[in-house]
């Protein structure tokens, strides 16, 4: 019997392990075999904040389901373009004066037959030949960027020199129009696509320029769809004013505005009522037209060897949230987390939905590999403020914008009732059709250990079972006691004086007593004499 059961047991175990691995692969967020794109830049040119352009490009390409490999041109290894089978090569020049190019890269790019996009000045000869258009330099001009699709226009900053395409045959696709302020000068297209080549004379990470540039890039890679933006409230933490969060969700729902919140969480102290209150408010969000994205933590001191610690932290956070029936539909993180060998698997691998936020001024990579992860759905986090260009043209926030890639328009969690009112007013006034997560194709799956939370059509499923998020039941909270203003010195004397000096005063009194007695004894000695 034993002999017969042994192989059967082994077979069952094998099947079980295979099934497990299949389910793990299915739940894993990263999309394999996505087309590869090489983003080669000459310099970050931080003096000009041009690292934000690299960051924007990485996020945009990831949101288009492309696997982005970023490299500084002088660090390029000969033959990589061919060896890694890139679908496209993007050359970004941020500091043309430095002329930081290598012959290896230029040589490989010239031989490359795939898609080529050049962003910025100093287009190389091989790129010009591929583009097949004449570029003419324009000096000392200030332009309006006009977009026919959205009927919006934006005044650009003064440009000393810009190479533009003056003659565009009918076969060339153009994006946006640069309208010079001087009446003698001719209108020219902003971005152009000619066959396998494309050109953008400049890129900014926000405003109308970015909207138009992102449309060009999306079309260049064959994406023709348009996307409604997802309103995302950022900077929510377990320490956020919960009354405000409650009111915000209520007000947005009352105004018919679907939204998402991006919140950090905790893995310890989950026994405290404060955590229960936090998760109750997240449940309230889930029940009032909102969805929850779990934001990765703030890194204080990055270290590659702490991958296990981060993994444990993220898993515990997700597990605890699910335990409290808060089902994150995705994860959110600054973009550099997606370019890191430590952070990507330890923190971003639990969901098929990711919002990639703009990098902070200081990035803290544990082990940067500059190969971005690809997700089933990655949103480009675009700050709502960056659309507020009313002083320089059309107020984009009040324009019915459509985006060429999944975009999350982000607004910071208000910090006061006044801020909250302002936020709701701004959002209500916007002519944007916001993405409604409870309708359409939006879905989100977050998996950790044996828990699989899935969201679709406004319903939450836990391990395949429809689950109803409980109605609001937070622990009782009393308001913080008002602090009576007292002077610093009052506090000092009332508290410090009583305790800290008590010991010393007693000691001084004892010493004084001895001193007096001592003097008396001393004088008595003289008297005797």
């Amino acid at each position: 019997m034993k002999k017969r059961f042994g192989p059967i047991l082994l077979l069952m175990l094998t099947i079980f392990s295979l099934l497990s691995s299949v389910s793990v692969t299915a739940s894993a967020s990263q999309v394999s075999r996505a087309p590869r794109v090489l983003l080669a830049y000459d310099s970050e040119n931080r003096a000009n904040d041009d690292q934000t352009k690299i960051d924007a490009m990485q996020r945009l390409l990831t949101s288009l389901n492309l696997e982005v490999h970023t490299i500084r041109i002088d660090q390029y290894h000969a033959g990589d373009i061919k060896r890694l089978h890139f679908k496209a090569v993007i050359t970004m020049v941020n500091w043309s004066q430095a002329k930081l190019t290598t012959s290896d890269f230029a040589h490989d790019r010239a031989a490359f037959k795939g898609l080529k996009l050049h962003i910025g000045p100093s287009m190389a000869t091989d790129e010009r030949q591929s583009l097949g258009l004449t570029l003419s330099p324009r000096y000392h001009q200030q332009y309006w960027l006009s977009d026919h699709t959205s009927s919006a226009r934006q005044l650009l900053s003064f440009s000393e020199s810009l190479a533009v395409t003056t003659q565009t045959p009918a076969t060339v696709k153009t994006f946006g129009t640069l309208v010079p302020q001087s009446q003698n000068a001719k209108k020219v297209p902003y971005g152009v696509i000619n066959g396998n080549s494309a050109y953008l004379p400049y890129l900014t990470a926000n405003g109308l320029s970015f909207i138009v540039a992102s449309r060009l890039i999306a079309r260049f890679f064959g994406h023709t769809a348009t996307y409604a933006p997802l309103l995302t409230i950022t900077d929510v933490t377990p320490f956020t004013n919960m009354d405000l969060l409650h009111k915000l969700a209520t007000d947005l729902e009352n105004n018919g505005i679907p939204f998402a919140i991006s919140t950090t969480s905790i893995s310890v102290n989950t026994d405290l009522p404060a955590y229960k209150r936090f998760t109750s408010e997240l449940q309230w969000v889930e029940n009032h037209g909102g969805v929850v994205f779990l934001r990765t933590p703030v890194v204080y001191y990055p270290k590659a060897s702490t991958q296990g610690q981060l993994k444990q932290l993220m898993q515990t956070q997700i597990w605890r949230l699910i335990d409290r029936q808060v089902f994150p539909v995705g994860l959110s993180a600054p973009n550099y987390w997606n370019q890191d060998l430590v952070y990507r698997p330890a923190a971003l691998s639990y969901s098929n939905n990711v919002i990639l936020m703009q990098n902070p001024s200081e990035t803290k990579n544990a082990d940067a590999d500059n190969t971005a992860g690809v997700y089933k759905q990655a949103f480009y986090g675009l700050q709502e403020q960056s659309l507020e260009t009313v002083h320089n043209g059309t107020n984009l926030a009040q324009t019915d914008l459509s985006f060429s890639s999944p975009t999350a328009v982000t607004m910071t969690m208000p910090d006061s009732q006044k801020d909250l009112t302002g936020l709701v007013k701004r959002v209500s006034a916007a002519k944007v059709s916001w993405l409604d997560p409870s309708a359409g194709k939006f879905s989100g799956t977050t998996t950790v250990a044996n828990q699989r939370a899935h969201y679709r059509n406004g319903n939450y499923y836990l391990n395949g079972q429809l689950t109803v998020v409980p109605t609001y039941n937070p622990p009782k909270q009393t308001k913080p006691a008002p602090v009576t203003p007292t002077g610093a010195l009052n506090t000092f004397f009332s508290v410090d004086g009583v305790f800290l000096f008590f010991f010393m005063i007693v000691s001084l009194i004892v010493l004084l007593a001895f001193y007096i007695v001592g003097r008396q004894v001393y004088w008595r000695m003289f008297k005797k004499k």
């Binding site: 004013n241 506090t491 800290l500 001592g518």
Partner: protein, 470 residues
């Protein structure tokens, strides 16, 4: 004997010292040193012997006002003079403290034994070596911690006042100057030492019993005021960042950690109860749900409390304060820093390896000294009671030594309690063993004084040389 024991530990390979727990960075960069590039650098796991000496403009500014750079600059100067102008060997740091330590040990032995010339003094001398040459103290010499400066300064401060009281030298002003300088160096060595100025001021004031001329008394009073001023200056010159770190941890690892109801504790102090979720966090948590330095945290949390807020809270919650003090008392006699290694990587020892060489006294004290705060209160009463009786006799018989000794003991006890309180108020339970450094040191000095006085039969009377001469 001390010279041999300590020299073997510090200078003979394998070189021993303490590894960096992160605190070194505060000391090295501002003094023109840096971690050598291209060579592995270890935190906690191994001590690092060699550092680079900056050959370019040093733009680092001090995180806190301290007398520690005096020692480091001297070590760098010596290193550059005899070894290298580019590479700093930490043994030169050890050498500076070592030389100062030997002087301190000599003065201490002299202070505890003078003027008796008995065979018992050999026992006292051996005791001094056993207690103060313990490796848990001397390992600090090969490090960039501030504690070794405090250690040697305290040896000088304690010995000089005792030598003054016992009229060891005919010229008294060098000892007064030594006491004053070593005390000021000690107080200004570290932020936590600021309140200790009160204890030392009391000791200085007791010199009024020694000096009788008006001008001398004026100098004593002036010295007392200056010592107090150095404490105030040390406190006032704490940088904002350093203060923020300590305040934050006092709250998260002090008040919130021990509070029965952390949310209520916050709400009563006018702070949003959600911040109870910071319970147990440190300022340096690798991964945090919020940036501790963010505007939001400042506005709604860290700007809403101060050390006074914490002190007030602790005083109104004696049971929680008591629990924190008891927690601190557990670490009261742990002088050897267990969290970091005592060896370099080249020594071939495993990570975090600790030396057991000449650690007998610290091991005994760590194992057998009662670990409750109440015991410290008890021992303080016992010490003060014993020496107060002596002081009474001293006053009656016109012997100022006895009064000065009482002041010294009171100051030592006060320092112990102030260190406990300043540690738990100032940083919660974070880094307790290091913050409590003055507790075992003052305990050891007081015990050494007690034992030496007992052996020389002068606990309640001034030592009498044969023939009744005092």
């Amino acid at each position: 004997m001390s010279a041999l024991i300590v020299a073997y530990l510090l200078f003979i390979p394998p070189v021993n010292g303490y590894a960096n727990n992160g605190d070194f960075d505060r000391a090295i960069y501002v003094n023109g040193l840096y971690r050598l590039t291209g060579k592995p650098y270890y935190f906690f796991t191994y001590m690092v012997q060699k550092y680079g000496i900056m050959q370019y403009f040093n733009e680092s500014s001090a995180a806190l006002f301290s007398s520690q750079p005096l020692f480091i600059k001297a070590a760098i100067g010596l290193n550059m003079l005899v070894y290298s102008t580019k590479v700093f060997d930490i043994r030169f740091m050890g050498l500076i403290y070592y030389v100062l330590f030997l002087g301190g040990i000599y003065l201490l032995t002299e202070a505890l034994t003078f003027p008796s010339k008995r065979w018992r003094n050999y026992i006292i001398a051996l005791m001094v070596v056993f207690v103060f040459a313990d490796s848990s103290y001397t390992l600090y010499f090969n490090s960039f911690f501030a504690e070794p400066g405090m250690f040697v300064a305290m040896l000088y401060s304690f010995s000089s006042i005792l030598l003054l009281a016992r009229h060891r030298f005919k010229r008294r002003w060098p000892m007064v100057l030594l006491f004053f300088i070593s005390t000021v160096v000690l107080i200004t060595n570290k932020q936590q030492n600021a309140p200790l100025a009160l204890g030392f001021a009391l000791t200085m004031l007791s010199l009024l019993f020694v000096f009788h001329k008006r001008a001398e008394k004026l100098y004593v009073i002036l010295g007392t005021v200056l010592i107090l001023a150095s404490g105030v200056a040390t406190y006032a010159l704490i940088t904002k960042t350093f203060n923020n770190i300590n305040e934050y941890q006092s709250m998260t690892r002090g008040v919130l950690l021990k509070a029965k109801d952390p949310e209520k504790a916050l709400m009563q102090g006018g702070i949003d109860s959600q911040f109870a979720l910071t319970r147990g966090q440190t300022y340096f948590d690798r991964y945090s749900p919020i940036d501790v330095n963010s505007k939001y945290m400042k506005k709604h949390f860290t700007d809403k409390f101060s050390f006074m807020w914490i002190l007030k809270y602790e005083l109104t919650h004696p049971s929680e304060f008591g629990a924190l003090l008891n927690l601190a008392a557990k670490d009261g006699q742990l002088t050897q820093v267990k969290a970091v290694s005592d060896y370099t990587k080249s020594a071939g020892q495993p990570k975090y390896a600790q030396t057991h060489y000449f650690t007998g006294f610290s091991t005994i004290m760590g194992a057998f000294f009662p670990r409750t705060f109440a015991f410290y209160v008890l021992i303080a009463f016992a010490f003060i009671g014993v020496y107060a009786f002596g002081a009474y006799h001293g006053i009656r018989d016109g012997d100022p030594e006895m009064v000065v000794r009482l002041a010294l003991i009171i100051a030592n006890m006060a320092i112990i309690f102030m260190t406990f309180i300043a540690s738990v108020i100032g940083d919660g339970d974070a880094d307790l063993a290091k913050h409590l450094f003055m507790v075992p040191l003052c305990t050891d000095l007081s015990l050494a004084l007690l034992v030496s006085d007992l052996l020389n039969h002068r606990l309640w009377h001034v030592f009498e040389i044969r023939g009744g001469q005092r």
